[in-house]
């Protein structure tokens, strides 16, 4: 009945799936990634079980290891949170790297000049405010041009990264240089360092509070509503009487301010000084985290932790099993890839020759399978008509 001319397979769009099935597909793709990773370890002549075990124990088995892992997760989570309102508005801010650096720079100015003289709480608060302000302003520059002249924010924000990193490089070798010729900015005095809570700088509390705040900001507040409407349709936003340009600038400023805060936490919480690679790629990794979490702040916690575990575990893997750290990077890549790819299988199904598309009508499902954000105004997920 099926002659040979029929194509081997074709794609059919799925409509909705029950949430449980969606999560099963996600789990399956994660498992597939682990299997590919296992094969990778196998090729290198290492026992995959031992390797995965080492990653887990290396990052989570001891309190000191957990502290290290959390320290990696803090900036990642903070930056993903910062990007959520931008991406919700479909403003592609890929300048988080630079905004983190800008925040760190502003904080460092106060730490170096007033770190010894001002009282501990005052200096920390002033540093935080300065970091937020400068990070926000740095982000607002491209936003202003976007709102005013409709420039391309993707390129603009990217370029802004290089400028601010260049500025830090200059400060490192020039005005702020410690020992002449060292190219290093001196360490902050202890007075300008964040206190520790449970062995990790108190930034983790700030970021967790911010996570909760961001959830309410995006789903319950007027600002969040405006962001969701603009993300869906700028024309509708104008029609509803929203001042789109002002909202864009305000939101991006807010986003940049959080990035700046992350820069502050990294300098006076972890590093104790400023150098040009202070953001260390977090601004880019956070883009993936934000998308994987579909902009849900709580999902961002899990994904940032997962990436932190892989990153911390990679170090242990290198020392204990002599597996190069780059292998762990490949593993991270494979996991991220398969998690993004599985969205395709959630949206489409493949029908092979001779198979029937038996996804018959079942009536309405009250919930929307693709959206983990409950009661949110909008999903922000990319879905379109046929």
């Amino acid at each position: 009945m099926h002659n040979e001319k029929q194509p081997l397979f074709h794609l059919a769009r799925r409509d909705e799936m029950p949430k449980s099935k969606v999560w099963m597909i996600r789990a399956a793709s994660f498992l597939a990634a682990l299997l590919i990773g296992a094969a990778l370890f196998g090729v290198l002549g290492k026992n995959p079980f031992e390797a995965y075990g080492t990653i887990i124990t290396g990052s989570l088995a001891k309190p000191s290891a957990i502290r290290q892992t959390v320290k990696i997760a803090i900036p990642l989570l903070g930056t993903s949170l910062a990007l959520a309102p931008c991406f919700g508005m479909r403003y592609w801010n890929i300048g988080a790297e630079g905004q983190i650096t800008a925040g760190a720079l502003a904080a460092t100015y106060f730490a170096l000049h007033f770190g010894k003289t001002w009282p501990h709480p005052v200096i920390l608060i002033v540093m935080a405010l300065a970091a937020c302000l400068f990070g926000g302003l740095w982000a607002a520059i491209p936003a202003f041009f976007k709102a005013r002249y409709n420039t391309n924010e993707t390129l603009f924000t990217l370029m802004m990264n290089y400028i601010i990193i260049g500025v830090v490089k200059w400060l490192q070798g020039g005005p702020w240089e410690g020992k002449p010729g060292s190219q290093i900015i001196p360490m902050f005095p202890d007075n300008a360092m964040l206190p520790k809570v449970l062995g990790v700088h108190c930034g983790w509390i700030i970021i967790l509070l911010l996570t909760v705040f961001m959830y309410f900001y995006l789903t319950k507040m007027k600002h969040g509503y405006e962001i969701a409407v603009i993300g869906d349709s700028v024309n509708t936003a104008r029609y509803a009487g929203m001042n789109v340009g002002r909202i864009v600038i305000r939101t991006v400023f807010f986003s940049g301010a959080i990035c700046g805060l992350v820069g502050y936490l990294v300098t006076c919480g972890a590093n104790g000084t400023l150098y040009d690679s202070v953001a260390a790629g977090v601004g880019f990794t956070a883009i993936t985290v934000a998308w994987l979490a579909q902009l849900n702040p709580f999902a961002m916690i899990a994904i940032s932790m997962l990436l932190a575990v892989l990153s911390k575990g990679a170090g242990t893997l290198q020392t204990r099993m002599e597996v190069p750290a780059s292998v762990s990077d490949i593993l991270t890549g494979v996991i991220l890839f398969s998690m993004l790819a599985c969205e395709f299988f959630i949206n489409y199904k493949i029908i092979f020759r001779g198979q029937h598309n038996d996804d018959g009508p079942r009536g309405f499902a009250p919930e929307d399978g693709k959206k983990p954000v409950k009661d949110a105004f909008a999903s922000n997920g990319k879905e379109g008509g046929r």
Binding site: N3, K5, Q6, P7, H10, A12, R13, R14, D15, E16, K220, M221, K222, H223, G224, Y225, E226, A228, V229, D232, S233, N235, T236, R238, Y239, A240, G241, I351, H356, N357, D359, G360, P361, R362, F364, A365, P366, D368, D375, F377, A378, S379, N380, E383, G385, R386
Partner: protein
């Protein structure tokens, strides 16, 4: 049906997720005949034809050509079987000439003189008016359509599929298109026209195949049927096709537009020196070829356009007159001027597709919440109210409106605007994509508003409906007011002429229908 079958569909089924677009469809098309594929929007006409044209691949069933089962996997395959489709949304390269577009995709060297000769041959054979060297961006809609049709003929199509070819044309242009189609039929070509306009079905086709909700209802000879019977097949039950039109009660000027010129976002003037008055208790229809400035005019009144000159006076009951030019959209809405604007993509302006009914109600009330939080209660109550009042079919008021059917989306939009008790209600293409029943629901809502003393501005596409629904009709032509006619005494022909020529006078040189006309003609007349 014997050996004269040219194309046969056999048990075709196509699904999109849970939505069944076509279910078990079987019928055939005779060689050398014109078949109308009739059905309401969303009944699966275009999906079915896309499978014949190689855009989609059927989930089940097969297509037979001259009795042989074939596999059409791509538009290229379709052309191998001499099938060509003219899509509703033209697929042309704006910067290319007609000839370049027609020859696009041909292998080998671009031999302009040979291409031009072949185009001329096709044009003269069937009576097309086409200039091979004209760039697409300089063309009117009907010229672009001509290019599309010539393109498929150029590639040797014997079976032509036309998706809603008349939707964008004036009555005069439709007449010309039908002449061409008859010439092609006489030449032995088979033609399928997708449409939902009954009078056209009766005029042009030999046979009519009717779809309803993705299922095949039946096929009849056009000579054996009439519009009433076809409507019943299409809708599935009897419908009364009548629009109530009470006389306006106590009309008073409500909106006075004077010498209004509007510039669009590209800096081009889209409306020129427009003057008219809209009265309370009256439906003022606005007619014109697509893109003649209807959208810009309504948006200008709503405060969404750059106005370069002119004034818009708003005269509310018992309050002092107000100048709307220079006010923000918010101020205009608060004054009671409501725009239930339904743009071409329906969700692009006015609704937020990814939100539910509740989130969409918030578009009107989002500022009312206390402090920094939105008040979801107001919008939820309003959503529930509209859902009940207008019988919106949605599983939940949180269910994304993008996933609702077109009719329900429209009800959400119009319902929200009416709920704000406006004194001016503007609506564009309010029934586009709606089934007949819902269309009449919307017409009645408009009439109810009119009876409440609201000034209704209604931009419509279907001239028959405009003539039945409105009290007066303003006709736009290329951004100018071409004329304002009394809908009770005017006719389609008069409006059609006004749509193509300012003032409605054909100059002595007789410009073919669809060509742009300038101001000079008005002065000539």
């Amino acid at each position: 049906m014997g050996a004269s079958n040219s194309i046969e569909f056999k048990n075709i089924t196509k699904r999109f997720g849970r939505k069944v677009a076509n279910e078990n469809i079987s019928f055939s098309l005779n060689k050398g005949e014109i078949l109308s594929l009739l059905g309401e929007n969303g009944s699966g006409k275009t999906t079915l034809m896309n499978m014949l044209a190689g855009i989609y691949y059927p989930d089940e069933g097969e297509i037979l050509i001259n009795g042989e089962p074939v596999q059409i996997r791509s538009p290229k395959d379709a052309f191998r079987y001499n099938i060509g489709m003219v899509h509703q949304h033209f697929k042309l390269v704006d910067l290319f000439t007609a000839a370049e577009n027609i020859a696009l995709g041909e292998k080998g060297r671009l031999d302009r003189s040979r291409i031009a000769a072949k185009i001329r041959e096709i044009s003269s054979k069937y009576g097309f008016i086409i200039d091979p060297d004209k760039k697409v961006y300089e063309m009117s809609v009907s010229e672009k359509q001509t290019v599309e049709i010539v393109k498929v003929l150029y590639r040797g199509a014997d079976v032509l599929i036309l998706d809603e070819p008349t939707a964008v044309l004036t009555p005069q242009e439709i007449g010309h298109l039908f002449t061409v189609l008859r010439a092609m039929k006489a030449d032995g070509k088979s033609i399928i026209i997708i449409t939902h306009k009954l009078n056209e079905v009766m005029e042009i086709s030999d046979e009519v195949a009717v779809l309803n909700h993705g299922s095949f209802i039946g096929k009849v000879r056009t000579s054996d049927t009439d519009p009433q019977k076809l409507t019943e097949m299409m809708v599935g039950h009897k419908v009364a096709l009548e629009i109530r039109r009470p006389m306006p009660k106590d009309p008073k000027p409500r909106i006075v537009v004077n010498d209004l010129t509007v510039r669009n976002h590209e800096g081009v003037n889209k409306a020129h020196h427009i003057s008219f008055t809209a009265y309370s208790g009256e439906i003022l229809g606005i007619a014109g070829i697509a893109g003649s400035g209807q959208k810009e005019l309504l948006e200008a009144i709503a405060g969404l356009q750059v106005i370069t000159a002119g004034s818009i006076q708003y005269l509310p009951d018992g309050k002092k007159p107000m100048e709307l030019v220079g006010k923000t959209p918010m101020q205009i809405r608060q004054a009671g001027v409501s725009l239930a604007f339904v743009p071409e993509d329906r969700l692009g302006m006015g609704l937020v597709g990814s939100m539910g009914m509740s989130g969409n109600m918030l578009l009107r009330t989002w500022r009312r919440g206390k402090g920094i939080f939105v008040d979801e209660k107001i919008s939820r109550d309003l959503a529930e109210h509209i859902r009940e009042e207008l019988d919106v079919s949605t599983p939940d008021i949180m269910y994304p409106v993008r996933r609702l059917s077109g009719g329900n989306v429209q009800k959400v939009l119009v319902g929200r605007e009416i709920a704000s008790a406006p004194s001016v209600l503007m609506s564009a293409y309010a029934v586009r994509g709606l089934d007949i029943n819902t269309s009449y629901t919307i017409y009645n809502l408009m009439t109810e508003q009119k009876e409440k003393g609201v000034a209704v501005l209604y931009v419509g596409e279907d001239l028959d409906v405009l003539l039945e629904l409105c009290d007066r009709i303003l006709v736009l032509c290329d951004g100018h007011v071409s004329g304002i006619v009394d809908a009770r005494t005017s006719n389609k022909n008069e409006i059609g002429l006004l749509m193509t020529t300012i003032g409605g006078q054909q100059p002595s040189g007789s410009v073919p229908a669809g060509q742009k006309s300038g101001k000079e003609e008005q002065q000539d007349a």
